[in-house]
């Protein structure tokens, strides 16, 4: 090798040496990047590899009535669980298992599908709610069922079947949408309140899930336990509801196709009963309702899934007459002595409005007008009273207002005003509209809950009572500023309605001293009676097809001289108010008897 070549060799060797040095520095840099710069990120990944957690589902809070009897409680349920350690044997195990317990094809496919997804320590629920014979069959053959074990879980139980189904609602597995909104719901096995109070109080009832953490190896086998964070059970909820009265009201109303009733304590706003019929068995849901059962409920013409007491919108009809009277007295349109002549009909413009009594009431004051339900008296008031003033009084008493914010399906009624009509109907308010509104027809709509709140506010002496589902201690309600003498006089007319022989509800009074009922009947037209029908003598609707008949309403309270319980009963398409009055009488009587029992 010449000198020149030698220099070249040494030069190139140096080049290779430097290249190697640079490459080693590159490795060092990469190592620095991974370990120091991204070290925390990879540390998290390594921990994620190492630590697996299993959620611990909190025990759902229970719901009690005012006397601490359970309305929704947790019951132990036993389920067969499969550990997915031995994947290859799953089919075999399921074959053996289906010989012991009823295992449908769908359930089997579901297990196989889950087994594909899950690894190692994860467990799959094969069959929930095992019966005792099933449990013992599995226990007996446990040697032939590798991976199968029996776990104790809890299932929601609603002890008083059919009572309070609507108000309580039910729980079920969360939907995908709910899971998107609340990541806590992605925990497998956690149930969520779907409707009713179970949903209203869901966050409180749910509690906080805990978890137990394990160290697992690459095959997802548990190496050791790390730690446990216990779940926090959900809060119990104590309702103002009286389960016995609720059950009684439910039974009373169940003789009608479709009805609802609410009883409220005038002293404090406690909701004692809130019933809607037909009802359904809430126990169907927590375990997963079958498709046929679901369709049956969904397609029932009497809509059993809807809570009519809070979401049913009805024209209140004559039940509003006490409030119209108050508005008229309050605004000075009439005084206690004003009388009006009722010929049995009245013209507003060219339209003929008919009275409840075809032959007319003759000369009536407000007291007789309410008690005997004279429509013409109220048509006359309606012509004089300003609609916006009337609406203000309606709203003061909670119409179009009362309801529970957040309670599923809770609706608000409609109290029309001049502005409302301009905006919604693009038309001016007419006297005819006022006349209709004054007898609770036309645009006017209210829910049973709103009606009973209005009743309670009136019977309570014009105080702004607030309905409540939970006892939050003593309350005092603000006075709304209506003249006590007017209120007393109006309440007296409601007393007369039931307890005077000329009153519309006299036949169904409570003849026990100190327990008398007062109130106001109402029928609300679903369809106008046509001129032809009227000429043919059809003014009653009892013989029409069910869905065209009038709704029967009763708004009342008891005892008549010392108001304690306010009630509303709405019987859909009853054809008249008498059934509603009877039901209200029975329920109010029961409420007062129960009170005595409790005191004793």
């Amino acid at each position: 090798m010449s000198e020149k070549e030698n220099t070249q060799f040494l030069g190139r060797t140096l080049f290779l040496g430097i290249l190697q040095f640079v490459l080693l520095l590159l490795l060092l840099g990469r190592m620095y990047y991974l370990q120091i710069f991204e070290g925390n990120y990879y540390h998290l990944l390594a921990e994620g590899n190492r630590i697996a957690t299993r959620p611990l589902i909190p025990l759902r809070g229970q719901i009690y009535d005012r006397h601490k009897s359970p309305l929704a409680q947790n019951e132990a349920s036993f389920r067969a669980v499969l550990l997915t350690d031995k994947k290859d044997k799953i089919e075999e195990v399921l074959d053996t298992l289906s010989g012991l317990i009823a295992l449908s094809f769908e359930e089997r496919e579901e297990v196989l599908k889950l087994a594909q997804k899950k690894r190692g320590f994860d467990s799959i629920i094969v069959k929930d709610n095992l019966s005792w014979p099933e449990i013992s069959a599995i226990e007996l053959h446990v040697a032939d069922l590798p991976g199968i074990s029996i776990e104790v879980g809890s299932v929601r139980k609603y002890p008083e079947i059919l009572n309070g189904a609507h108000l309580l609602g039910y729980i079920a597995s969360p939907s995908e949408k709910e899971q998107e909104e609340d990541s806590m719901l992605t925990i497998p096995g956690l149930k969520v309140g779907k409707v009713g109070l179970e949903k209203y109080y869901d966050v409180r009832l749910r509690g906080l899930p805990g978890h137990s953490a394990f160290e697992v190896n690459a095959k997802r086998k548990i190496v050791r336990d790390l730690h446990q964070v216990a779940s926090i059970p959900g809060e119990d909820v104590h309702l103002t509801l009286d389960a016995r009265l609720q059950a009684y009201a439910q039974e009373t109303l169940s003789s009608y196709e479709s009805a609802s009733a609410v009883v409220i304590d005038i002293q404090n706003g406690d909701i004692l009963t809130l019933v809607s019929t037909p009802s359904f068995d809430p126990n169907l849901f927590p375990r997963g309702i079958s498709h046929t059962d679901w369709l049956k409920l969904r397609d029932n013409p009497y809509v059993p899934l809807t809570n009519k007491a809070i979401s049913g919108l009805y024209p209140p009809g004559s039940t509003l007459k006490p409030f119209v009277t108050l508005a008229a007295l309050h605004s000075g349109v009439i005084d206690e002595n004003s009388t009006i002549h009722c010929p049995g009909y009245m013209f507003v413009g060219t339209h003929k409005f008919h009275c409840y009594r075809k032959t007319g009431h003759g000369s009536v004051n407000f007291s007789r007008a309410v008690a005997e339900s004279c429509d013409v008296f109220f048509y006359e008031i309606g012509k004089k009273v300003d609609i916006d003033l009337l609406s203000t009084v309606y709203q003061d008493f909670g119409l179009g207002r009362a309801g529970f914010e957040g309670l599923p399906h809770s609706k608000k009624g409609l109290v029309p005003t001049k502005n409302w009509k301009k905006e919604e109907k693009s038309a001016n308010w007419t006297v005819s509209d006022t006349v209709q509104t004054s007898i609770g027809q036309g645009y006017m709509l209210a829910t049973p809950l709103e009606l009973v709140v209005a009743m309670a506010r009136l019977a309570g002496g014009g105080k702004r009572l607030v309905p409540r589902l939970e006892d939050q201690g003593t309350v005092s309600f603000q006075d709304m500023g209506y003249e006590q003498k007017y209120i007393k006089a109006i309440l007296e007319t409601m007393n007369a309605t039931v307890n005077k022989p000329s009153g519309t509800a006299f036949r169904w009074r409570i003849p026990i001293e100190g327990m008398e009922m007062a109130g106001k009947t109402g029928t609300s037209q679903v369809r106008r009676i046509t001129l032809q029908q009227r000429k043919a003598g059809q003014t009653k609707t009892a013989h029409l097809p069910w869905k065209y008949r009038e709704h029967g309403l009763f708004l009342g309270y008891a005892p008549a001289h010392k108001p304690r319980y306010a009630i509303v009963v709405v019987i859909e398409h009853a054809g008249g108010a008498s059934l509603a009055v009877q039901a209200a009488r029975d329920i109010l009587l029961k409420a007062q008897f129960l009170e005595k029992e409790t005191v004793l």
């Binding site: 060797t13 290779l16 490795l27 370990q35 070290g39 990944l45």
Partner: protein
């Protein structure tokens, strides 16, 4: 013929480069410590066997170092021929191990001819370059190119992509040192680039997968990309100081694949952190620098080509392995030199160091270009 007479054995021993020897021992000892951790504290599973192999390897290393360099010059083609025959033997009688035909059963030990081939190729090329007037004229490149490509082709058939790449790179580097024009390198690189699609079709499905996975390991983190992903997690999670000896969760819970062999550097980094990793890399760098000192100070062409070739092989092992576990290169199955569990790779490397030590002993020796004779 000037003869530097053979002194006594002890004299020779005392003149050995003990720096290199002690670095080799130190790095191997780190390996044993890591193997104990990889086995969860069990010495017998891997570490003890590795020590025995090291003992055998060290004896071979010293033997190679002490034999006269001219003797090795003389036998280099024969050695190459022998290795080539073994490599063909794998084709004929080798059995399937780890999905690739790489091993040949010599009844006592399982031999990997591809490992021997690395040594043999370096020696054969060194001898050829020694025998020629440098720089080589164009037509004289054909023979050394054949020396490289025959074993490369055989290895690709096995298929052993990693070793084939190492052979090509080591061979190429020796061509570079032999003064082959930069232009020729350029042309060769371009033609290799052009033939890549053809080479691609020769690859096995799993090799293609590994290469593809290298570009996007997250795509299939439970399948073929699993190795790389888990390795990066283990390495990255070590941080500055590591999780502590035998505390590596990725390793002990078996998330880290092949933790005692190809991925042992990751185990080191997980348990000893950036500090441990850079310490080992520094030891490797020191060892390479020591080897380069020998290359620079050696007079004889054969000697310095051999030393350069062996150093390069060693460097390639280190670089490819470490780059691979850090996700910079595809997973090709190259162990971390002197540290990874396994006999043949260590044997090759210790033989390589034997030759480097040998050259270091014979620094001042100058073998005439055309003397094929025995001393």
């Amino acid at each position: 013929m000037t003869t530097e007479m053979v002194s006594s054995l002890f004299q020779k021993l005392s003149r050995l480069n003990w720096g290199i020897v002690s670095l080799v021992f130190l790095i191997s000892a780190i390996g044993w410590i890591l193997l104990i951790s990889a086995a969860g504290g069990d010495i017998h599973l891997w570490a003890f066997k590795q020590m025995l192999r090291f003992a055998v390897g060290v004896v071979i290393m010293f033997s190679i170092a002490l034999i006269d360099l001219r003797w090795w010059l003389h036998f280099s083609y024969i050695f190459y021929g022998f290795s080539l025959v073994l490599l063909c033997g794998v084709e004929l009688s080798g059995f399937i191990g780890m999905g690739a035909q790489r091993w040949i059963d010599l009844y006592i030990i399982q031999l990997q001819p591809s490992e021997l081939m690395k040594i043999a190729l370096v020696m054969a090329l060194a001898r050829y370059f020694h025998s020629q007037r440098l720089p080589l004229p164009f037509h004289k490149l054909f023979f050394p190119l054949c020396l490289i490509f025959i074993p490369v082709m055989l290895l690709l058939r096995q298929p052993d992509l990693g070793t084939a790449m190492v052979l090509m790179m080591a061979g190429g580097a020796l061509f570079f040192l032999a003064g082959v024009s930069i232009w020729i390198f350029g042309i060769v690189l371009i033609s290799i680039g052009a033939s890549l699609p053809i080479l691609w079709s020769f690859l096995h499905e799993y090799q293609k997968k590994r290469v593809l996975m290298f570009f996007d390991p997250s795509q299939d983190s439970l399948g073929a990309g699993y190795h790389i992903t888990q390795s990066k997690i283990a390495l990255g999670s070590g941080g500055m100081w590591g999780k502590g000896y035998m505390q590596g969760t990725q390793a002990s819970l078996n998330f880290l694949p092949e933790k005692q062999t190809d991925f042992i550097f990751t185990l080191l980094c997980e348990e000893w952190g950036f500090m441990g990793g850079s310490f080992l890399l520094s030891l490797y760098a020191l060892l390479i620098i020591a080897c380069f000192r020998i290359i620079f100070t050696t007079q004889d062409d054969f000697g310095r080509f051999v030393a350069a070739g062996m150093t390069l092989l060693f460097f390639l092992y280190v670089f490819i392995n470490v780059a691979m576990v850090m996700g910079l290169l595809p997973v090709v199955g190259i162990p971390l030199p002197l540290v990874s569990y396994g006999g043949t790779a260590m044997l090759t490397l210790l033989m390589g160091f034997g030759f480097i030590l040998n050259v270091g002993l014979h620094r001042t020796l100058k073998i005439p270009r055309f003397s094929i004779g025995v001393f």
